[in-house]
């Protein structure tokens, strides 16, 4: 019996550390645990459509706008991102104040982001990629849709980057 208890404890520990690592990945946290038929996903398509249109119309996925931003030659990007942050703050405040649930009634939990050195090293590397391609992950899809098809290669390369990170994760400083 004693042995089983020990095995169980080490198993629980393993689970916990797994959560700790996973909690660094912001995407893995608020994933819905409900199962639905595929057509429930159509609403994500609608949200994506809207997001894609906005990304194009605000010009924030323009390589030229990104260059202006990093060379401090235009206020454009700072204005768009700044107003997005203000909108986000109001949304977060409303969600907390009224304990807003997801459309399936699941509670929304906002976890504290834990600091890791990854935010420094990864952030710098991400910045390099952002200035080179003029795009971050969401806009890659929008650029393909807007007619620059060669960005498909950039997208595949980005996916490869996430895989390589997955392989090297244990060896990188965090």
């Amino acid at each position: 019996m004693h042995e089983i208890g020990e095995v169980k404890n080490s198993f629980v520990e393993k689970l916990n550390t797994d959560f700790e690592v996973r909690s660094l990945d912001s995407v893995c946290i608020n994933t819905s645990e409900l199962k639905h038929p595929w057509w429930y996903n159509v609403k994500y398509l609608a949200a994506g459509l809207l997001f894609g249109i906005i990304l194009v119309k605000t010009e924030v996925i323009s390589w030229f706008r990104i260059q202006e931003m990093f060379r401090l030659q235009s206020f454009h990007m700072y204005g768009v991102i700044g107003s997005a942050v203000v909108t986000g703050m109001i949304s977060v405040w409303l969600i907390k104040k009224f304990q807003v649930k997801t459309i399936y009634g699941e509670p929304i939990q906002l976890y504290k982001i834990r600091f890791s050195k990854g935010q420094i090293y990864g952030g710098l590397l991400f910045g390099f990629g952002w200035a080179m391609t003029g795009a971050c992950p969401g806009p890659l899809f929008a650029l393909i849709g807007s007619g620059t098809t060669v960005i498909i290669v950039t997208l595949l390369s980005a996916v490869a980057g996430t895989w390589v990170y997955g392989h090297l994760r244990e060896k990188l400083p965090h």
Binding site: L45, G138, A158
Partner: protein, 123 residues
């Protein structure tokens, strides 16, 4: 998957059906500088002089599109989020690690755009 497909489709709709897409009105200093590197086409969101299939197989195109893409994917996971995850959502929620990440995004981008990118564009 549905969401990202929607982004691409939305962008397609924006450039085709929702007409009136003007060339991006870029800072004149940048226009002059980019002209030196042979970038004159402002008709699309990405400069078509660089981001096309034939340039992909040159050293310049490979660095910008393949290496650049790799850094986006690798950096996003290493930093635990991207522009929307850290800069917009994280800052909205007053998370200081997201501020660190955002500052590093900007430092990385500024170093690349001002000091490294010009040499890549000259290739």
């Amino acid at each position: 998957m549905f969401f990202v497909f929607g982004i691409a489709a939305g962008a397609f709709i924006a450039v085709t059906l929702l007409s009136g897409h003007q060339p991006v009105n870029v800072n004149s200093g940048l226009v002059a500088e980019l002209k030196e590197y042979g970038i004159n086409n402002y008709s699309k969101l990405a400069p078509q002089d660089i981001f096309n299939w034939s340039v992909l197989f040159t050293v310049k195109g490979f660095i910008l599109m393949v290496v650049g893409g790799f850094l986006i994917g690798f950096g996003t996971r290493y930093a635990g989020g991207c522009t929307s995850g850290h800069s917009i959502m994280g800052l909205s929620n007053l998370q200081w690690p997201s501020l660190v990440a955002t500052v590093c995004f900007m430092i990385g981008g500024m170093v690349m755009a001002n000091f490294i990118l010009p040499s890549i564009l000259q290739l």
